[in-house]
Symmetry: C2
Subunit: 396 residues, 2 copies
């Protein structure tokens, strides 16, 4: 029995159809009460003792286990903390030291810019001829050769939703002696992921999108279990130390994935995330994926029937598309503003992409039809063509 649609578990404001869960998921209803009790009963009453009595210290591993299940990772191979940008740096710094004779990080122009920026920062810091090499997404396969130290890719393109073949590219990287790092920002909670099966060394991702952890929810990092005890953390913070409270003057990396912890964990954010992740405990990811594809197919069909002036910018083949549909329109910013004002919330990515995310946990077929009706009304009646919508289109 599939238990995917849980609309009643979320706050969805009256009159809103939310197609932006790929950017920031809506709030699970249980979050407010749980955070309140963490604040009042834990921080308020236990004070410093909350670190032990309320289990704050173990939370990054506990929530990591919740995330691990969703991405096909073994228990104890995922830990939470910091932000996705920092996890890029952390994973990349460990990965590059595994290939000390090589100097090239390979990525693609479809990667989220912050991943590229963090790699640029790492390379600039290390000097010694390290290099970030970026090719078009379709050229990645040809660019993997024996000079590559690390292949770093985001599985689902944030603009178009196009997916990379995780197993094939990982295998290719390994054949050339490169380490594989996957960013699952738009994968976790969106599509089926089999991290263990892929055999990649590292994976990272965020939890405020499809996992509904709230604005600024902590990121996750996965290290393949057979490597976790050998990698050298560059961000060697005290909570990744074998005995944080020994206050040793020298760093000794903790056991396994625990060494990827850095500083004091953000307990309030983790508490919101932990209760949001409870909603995933009984979710069959294969069934969620089936429902996500069905909603997307319905959306594309209805858009192409009713609003032909919007051009599909995502792959038509759902097998190589994540959980979003992107449409191209020359005045996409203005159009999206007008659509949002009428209750259908998607978002815009420069220069001309209108993005819509599909999340079967709180969207059903009726929502999709209702959304298309509003989009068609805005587009077919040129409701977007007013100064109030267009004024900001140059400043995004």
């Amino acid at each position: 029995m599939s238990n995917i649609l849980k609309k009643e578990a979320f706050i969805i404001p009256e009159g809103v159809i939310y197609l932006d869960g790929n950017s920031l998921g809506p709030m699970p209803k249980a979050v407010a009460a749980r955070v309140q009790s963490m604040l009042t009963d834990e921080w308020g009453e236990m004070l410093i003792r909350g670190w032990n009595f309320a289990g704050w210290m173990d939370q990054p591993m506990r929530v990591g286990a919740q995330v691990a299940r969703i991405i096909g990772a073994a228990e104890g191979s995922v830990v939470m903390g910091d932000t996705l940008s920092l996890k890029v740096f952390q994973a990349l710094a460990a990965a590059i030291k595994m290939n000390p004779e090589r100097r090239v990080i390979l990525s693609d122009t479809g990667n989220f810019p912050s991943d590229l920026y963090m790699a640029e920062g790492l390379v600039g810091l290390m000097e010694q001829g390290y290099e970030l090499r970026t090719v078009a997404p379709e050229e990645v396969v040809d660019a993997v050769d024996d000079s590559i130290a690390v292949v770093m890719l985001t599985q689902v393109d944030y603009r178009t939703g196009r997916t990379h073949d995780m197993n094939a590219i990982t295998e290719l990287a390994h054949r050339h002696g490169a380490v594989m790092l996957w960013d699952l920002a738009h994968s976790a909670g969106a599509i089926e992921v089999d991290l263990e099966g892929s055999n990649c060394e590292f994976a990272i991702g965020c939890t405020y999108k499809y996992l509904n952890g709230g604005p600024g929810a902590p990121a996750f990092i996965y290290v393949r279990p057979d490597l976790a005890d050998t990698i050298k953390p560059a961000l060697s913070g005290w909570l990744g130390h074998r005995q944080p409270f020994a206050f040793d003057l020298n760093y000794k990396a903790g056991a396994g994935i625990e060494r990827m912890r850095v500083g004091t964990p953000p307990v309030i954010q983790l508490t919101a995330l932990e209760v949001a992740m409870d909603l995933w405990a009984d979710v069959d990811m294969a069934e969620l994926r089936r429902q996500s594809v069905a909603l997307q197919e319905q959306f594309i069909t209805e858009i192409e029937r009713d609003v032909p002036q919007l051009t599909l910018a995502s792959p038509r083949d759902s097998a190589v598309r994540g959980s979003q549909v992107s449409l191209q329109f020359h005045e996409g910013f203005a159009a999206m503003q007008a659509i949002i004002e009428r209750g259908v919330i998607g978002d815009f990515r420069a220069p001309d992409i209108m993005r819509f995310g599909f999340t079967p946990m709180y969207l059903d077929a009726a929502d999709i039809s209702a959304a298309v009706k509003i989009i068609a009304d805005v587009m077919n009646n040129n409701l977007w063509d007013q100064d109030k919508y267009k004024v900001r289109s140059k400043v995004t």
Copy 2:
């Protein structure tokens, strides 16, 4: 008119005298309602639009301005984010590149271990002969020479409360061409700090201690305003980019201190911190310091009179002591457990330090006398000498 004591603004559980605000400050009463409204009215109702409508995007700078006032920093020179360990890395990575001919980071054994660990991680990542050199706190002055790239010190020693002379050491570092980085973990909200006057290049600190921001509250970083536009961020995340939403493929550092932002900010934690910082808006730090010293002097006098078996481990001269008093006792762990069980909450740091923090915002002279009475009762009647208190003393 001094407005320091604001006991009624905090949750202090019945029967508790809280002398551990140097580890985790208590919860300001306003936090629960403010976080609740952020969750329900902002995340819940605005969804993705909260980034603009609720001002989430500007929060790291807005809260940075609140912190700047407390540490004598110019407006616009402080930004919030991540954890203190990460801010150590970020500041150190920028600092070391300012002295490209030099290879040594100088610190001391009184520094918080995580600061040393992060420096170790940075040095291990960069290779090329970089080195972390650590001397005893009293030897720092003699160890500063023309080979030092960066001097990195924590102003207030976390174990003993001993302070370094910020102005003198900064001047010494500069005389030798070294860059100065101060960790203000036990300074911000505890003592008067005049960052601008010190002329140091970098400062960092946390906000969950004296500033009462909650468990895992974000850290802060200060860069001297004349340098902020020239330093090169190693943790070059998208929110430190000049135009994060241009989704440029290349990193271009943002204006001034904004370049020290990294990833998506932790909005829930920042909201708790922001309302906690409101309590500091009318605080005169000189007056707070006077009251802190008075409470500490009272505590030392009463302890030495009533509990002579405890040895003062902090400097006796309040001019070189932060806002804590540390006492040495061979069975300090067991003793602290027994004291905590009777409502006086301090903490223990291996091997034999009992720490007590002094926070005039929610402690007055009557609290200190009541605390000493309980400590004396435990110590003079050997109430700590029971298996239930001693059992864990080896595992801290």
